[in-house]
């Protein structure tokens, strides 16, 4: 989806934060937020791709209100989808924890997705031979799916060169929607900065790993 998460190349976010050796969690609630998010796919009977897609669906203003906030809301959205909790329940419980005597709604009926897994992790073998080889010129397709994709906007329609074949893996775009693992070949594709950002761009190269369905041959 063309959502708030797809920030590559956007302007207006200002200075980068200072580099500090800060520990992974600041406030105590962030520890619990991390654990709930990390366990949420197991609780909801889903997968990592679905969790990423749930975070993408966090409303933009909430998405931009801190990492652990969007992480927690993403986990909640995914658990709502699986009928584990409802937003009304969470809000009612939050009110009660704050000392307000509000009625609590009935819990939902669990409705976990059913997607057989080909095994642990995400790396898979693909029988058919790869469509592209190292050195091939390829173009990132101009796709705008409504659902989950790992093809960011800033490379769509741009031409680059395959520099490596990565291990083939579960296809995020289908797995996130429980439409099957659908494993795909995956390629490191290198783009010249001027192809992405115009002739005035800083000189550098951008390498990104793209699944085969995202790529078209350049003829």
């Amino acid at each position: 989806m063309d959502g708030i998460h797809d920030v590559g190349g956007m302007q207006g976010f200002g200075h980068v934060q200072e580099l500090t050796p800060a520990p992974p969690f600041g406030e105590p609630w962030e520890r619990k937020a991390f654990a709930i998010g990390a366990l949420s796919a197991r609780i909801a009977g889903t997968n990592l791709h679905a969790f990423r897609h749930a975070i993408e669906r966090v409303p933009p203003q909430e998405y931009l209100s801190g990492y652990w906030n969007r992480w927690t809301i993403g986990a909640q959205i995914m658990m709502e989808d699986s009928g584990i909790v409802t937003d009304e329940e969470v809000r009612a419980r939050a009110a009660r924890l704050s000392g307000r005597d509000v009625p609590e709604p009935q819990p939902p009926t669990p409705n976990k997705p059913q997607m057989p897994s080909g095994g642990a992790g995400n790396l898979r073998s693909v029988e058919r031979p790869p469509a592209f080889a190292v050195g091939d010129r390829v173009r990132a397709a101009d796709l705008h799916p409504a659902g989950h994709t790992r093809l960011p906007r800033y490379v769509r329609g741009r031409a680059g060169t395959v520099t490596a074949l990565q291990p083939s893996a579960v296809f995020s775009d289908t797995a996130a929607h429980f439409l099957g693992e659908n494993p795909q070949h995956c390629y490191a594709v290198e783009f010249d900065s001027r192809e992405l950002w115009g002739q005035e761009a800083e000189p550098f190269s951008l390498s990104i790993d793209l699944f085969e369905p995202y790529l078209e041959p350049v003829t």
């Binding site: 580099l19 366990l39 906030n69 658990m79 093809l151 550098f204 790993d209 699944f211």
Partner: protein, 196 residues
């Protein structure tokens, strides 16, 4: 969850969720505590620093690390979630690699732990793929124009770690002393390893 919904304090949301899930027997405090402690105490950049220090002192290991990062890292006992396939990128006087995840916060957990705040922030994610030299300057790393900059966007299940250059004047240092010079920032590619 609708966009019109009123903002709920995140700490309160977490408490409410934890309370509901624990009531339903779906999480328990002991599991949460064990999980969090792992990433506070055992899995972090100190692991990656050991990998880097070994590569600096053992040329055979360095070759194995660059050829098959996942296997060479596993030799030191580091593996697990977000580390299924790790590629190690070598920085040199002529090439500077830097890593990002523009779409979320993909990061090589077994060697670096959980990502720092700046890595997950939209400012870094949006800008490092568009003006990396300027961003690195803001972080305090001014690269010579002659240095080739390579930015790596972690968009698949591949995870990246940078092997920084060994600082000058460290020839007599032990592997353990060298590991102390290797920062998280250097292994993402936004800083150099610290000078002794």
């Amino acid at each position: 969850m609708t966009s019109a919904a009123e903002h709920l304090d995140p700490a309160l949301r977490v408490e409410a969720l934890a309370s509901l899930l624990s009531e339903r027997g779906l999480i328990d405090e002991a599991i949460i505590e064990r999980f969090v402690k792992t990433y506070e105490q055992s899995v972090g950049p100190m692991n990656g620093a050991k990998v880097v220090a070994k590569a600096w002192t053992d040329s055979d290991y360095r070759a194995r690390l660059l050829a098959d990062g996942t296997a060479a890292i596993a030799e030191l006992g580091f593996k697990g979630p977000q580390g299924e396939h790790i590629v190690v990128l070598e920085n040199s006087p002529t090439v500077h690699n830097v890593v990002v995840c523009t779409l979320c916060s993909c990061y090589p957990w077994p060697v670096l732990g959980l990502p720092p705040s700046w890595y997950k922030d939209p400012a870094y994610r949006s800008r490092i793929v568009r003006e990396p030299r300027q961003v690195l300057r803001e972080f305090g790393l001014d690269l010579d124009d002659q240095v080739e900059v390579r930015v790596h966007d972690s968009s698949s299940e591949v995870r990246y770690m940078v092997l920084p250059e060994r600082p000058a004047g460290t020839e007599s240092r032990s592997e353990e002393e060298l590991a102390a010079l290797v920062t998280r920032d250097a292994m993402v590619g936004v800083a150099r390893a610290a000078a002794p």
